[in-house]
Amino acid sequence: MNKLLTVSPSPHEYSRESTRKLMYGVVIALAPALLATIWFFGWAALIVTSVSVVSCIIFEYLIQKFILRIKPTITDGSAIVTGLLLAFCLPSNLPPGLVILGALVAIGIGKMTFGGLGNNPFNPALVGRVFLFLSFPAQMTTWPLPGGFNASFTDALTGATPLSILNENYDKAGIDVLMSDPELSMPGYQELFWGNMGGSLGEIAAFALIIGLGYMLIRKIITWHIPVSILLTVTVFTGILWLARPEANADPLYHLMTGGLLLGAIFMATDYVTSPMSKKGMIIYGTGIGVITVLIRRFGAYPEGVQFAILIMNAFTPLINIYMKPKRFGEEVKNG
């Protein structure tokens, strides 16, 4: 045999998992929500999503190729995930120029300034979204109502989101009063579940997001710790508020299904790079997000707080990683 033997350190066997497969797994998990949003918002949703995804990929490529001068890694799929998530927290009538700006901030500032994939402290999509939200509050807070493919872009009906209605009416009226007021046209539980209401692209259809969660759990892309701890915390916290004063608060179920809570808890808080690594840490992180979300929703000026909550807890992630170590084998001896 003339071929030389290969020598490498053990192990010699590798699993089939790869970064790319994980990222495309997230994309697949986002697909049901994407289909739902296209169903409700028609072409507008498709345009915003594709502009966001394509510009994220292009910005990543350009920055890596010409500024960082490293081999572009756009095929790993992380830019697609960022693009999709960014689009999912934008309203369907946002002008493409703003979407592109958001993508630039998300990839350029949120990701590449820190050294690219794996090094960013904050979820890039949320950095882009928060930038747009603070810079263009008017465009970012008018959501068209669902009109399907027949709706025209220009004069789509816009409406307030259920959370902003709630925000204005805390301490004034309970959820049942608000829901029975025809003038407010608050969506009912069914609309919330299926997504037939106004809102950002990805946050309307609860069922589609839950399908995505199921897929990611089955494929073991994520573990249950973060989404479950967030949703449980929100349920408990809003449940206490609701039980204490039902006439002034919305019930937990309504809170769970409105706004970007599910999208955030399932897809954004679980971003590998910006979430803690030990199971204990994940639960602390999730609980923190849940608490901050409810605090902002109920007591803050903004109707929605998931994105801010995630960004705030992102900042705590390194600290959590330092103090929340996994249980070492043989650390405390309990024999039996």
Partner: protein, 444 residues
């Protein structure tokens, strides 16, 4: 629910291709190379010289110190030289090279196939026999068995564990031994129990070896105190600490030994070797080696003499296929890749695995995406990603605090990393540096 260890672990493809192939005695090679250091601890000292004639079973290197083991000639013939020869890592170390002439054994060795079940010796005599006959752990760590059997003062041992897990993919040598020599193995277990003075022994076997479990279960009833336990298939269950946790739910403290929790673990292959050493007075001069790989036409379980060059084993299995890229000494998770095939089979060689090109090549590494998979698979509860970073940045004190020395190098982290990061490579490096720092500190 089958028992297993609770934290971490992976499930690599089992690939136990050779599990149905009976053990076959390998024909004698023309020359054997027997290194004097085949065990953990101090190397033995060669006691033969160039030109001397030796018989199979004759001692050729005597143990130096307590943690060391005797080395015996595995063949009869003439000593060609006592010189530095490359071992499995390619580094040269003192070895005895013997030209084979005939197959003449020492008269004291009982080579009959007859089963000897009665135990006539006392515990101490059994330990002495093990030491004399150079018995070491056959699972791969090659720790001298007599050391393990001598319980330090103040420690107590109440249960013996026999490791029949064989969690490494491909390897089937212990599996075949359990099927083909069950009585010998159980007698060996009884001998070990007597040596340790315990009245309970657990034999742990992974559930992918149902035939071995059934066979041993059927026979174990006639042996006092031995029970057979099926375990869930999970790597690295064969690791001592994980096996103890799985079988008797005791956790060996960090930096401690199994005896700290009242148990001693021996490999199934070791139990068989102990039987031969004590009942038949046969030194450890041959062992079962699995020769396997997807590219091979036939896979084998060979009973090979210690010192047989690996190339002879492969030749016997039909030669290296054209597609070969890597030859691994041991299992695919912890074994060492060989740079040359002219290296000998030693007491710790459990298998020779042949990998094809596409199976063995490392993939390009990417940045860490902090998916935390390495943490969730680490059976020792460590953070491999962190240990790698700390080593890269030369922060050895922090690495020590984060328990880098607890790592047993099972490779689950590198196996599972989706970004193909060389986690274990760096952790091993960090361990070497931290170990040096600890030794220096102790000397002060």
């Amino acid at each position: 629910m089958l028992k297993t260890f609770p934290k971490g672990g992976v499930h690599p493809p089992e690939n136990k291709i050779s599990s149905g192939v009976p053990i076959e005695a390998m024909p004698l090679p023309e020359q054997v190379i027997i290194p004097v250091n085949q065990h953990l601890g101090a190397p033995a000292e060669a006691v033969v010289e160039k030109g001397e004639t030796v018989k199979a079973g004759q001692i050729i290197a005597r143990s130096k110190g307590f943690v060391s083991a005797n080395i015996h000639s595995s063949v009869s013939g003439k000593v060609l030289k006592v010189d530095k020869m490359p071992d499995a890592s390619g580094y040269k170390q003192t070895s005895v090279v013997i030209n084979v002439e005939g197959d003449e054994w020492l008269e004291t060795v009982d080579r009959s196939k007859e089963l000897k079940k009665n135990i006539s010796l006392s515990g101490e005599e059994i330990i002495k026999k093990c030491a004399e006959n150079g018995i070491v752990g056959m699972g791969g760590a090659t720790f001298p068995s007599h050391v393990k059997l001598s319980i330090p003062q103040g420690k107590k041992c109440d249960v013996l564990i026999i490791n029949g897990v064989e969690c490494e993919p491909y390897l089937t040598s212990d599996h075949r031994l359990m099927i083909e020599k069950p009585e010998e193995l159980l007698t060996g277990t009884s001998l070990l129990m007597k040596a340790l003075g315990v009245n309970r022994a657990f034999i742990g076997i992974e559930n992918n070896k149902k035939d071995a479990i059934d066979k041993l279960k059927g026979l174990a009833s006639s042996y006092d105190g031995i029970s057979i336990h099926a375990l869930k298939v999970k790597y690295p269950q064969g690791a001592e600490k994980q096996l103890i946790k799985a079988l008797i739910n005791r956790e060996v403290p960090s930096g401690g030994l199994p005896v700290d929790v009242g148990t001693v673990v021996h490999n199934a292959g070791t139990a068989f070797a102990v039987y031969e050493a004590v009942q038949k007075n046969k030194p450890l001069v041959e062992r079962v080696v699995t020769v396997s790989g997807k590219g091979l036409d036939k896979t084998l379980n060979l009973l090979a003499r210690i010192g047989t060059p690996v190339s002879k084993l492969i030749e016997y299995a039909g030669g290296l296929p054209e597609s070969t890229a890597k030859v691994v000494n041991g299992g695919p998770m912890m074994g060492k890749a060989l740079g040359s095939l002219e290296v000998p089979v030693t007491k710790g060689t459990s298998g020779i695995i042949i990998f094809r090109d596409e199976e063995s090549r490392r993939k390009e590494k990417g940045p860490c995406i902090r998916c935390a998979r390495c943490i969730s698979v680490c059976p020792m509860g460590l953070e491999p990603y962190l240990l790698m970073t700390l080593t890269e940045k030369e922060l050895y004190e922090r690495a020590e605090k984060d328990r880098i020395m607890d790592c047993m190098e099972c490779g689950s982290c590198s196996f599972t990393c989706p970004a193909n990061r060389p986690l274990l490579d760096y952790i091993r490096l960090g361990k070497a540096y931290v170990g040096k720092i600890i030794r220096e500190r102790k000397q002060k």
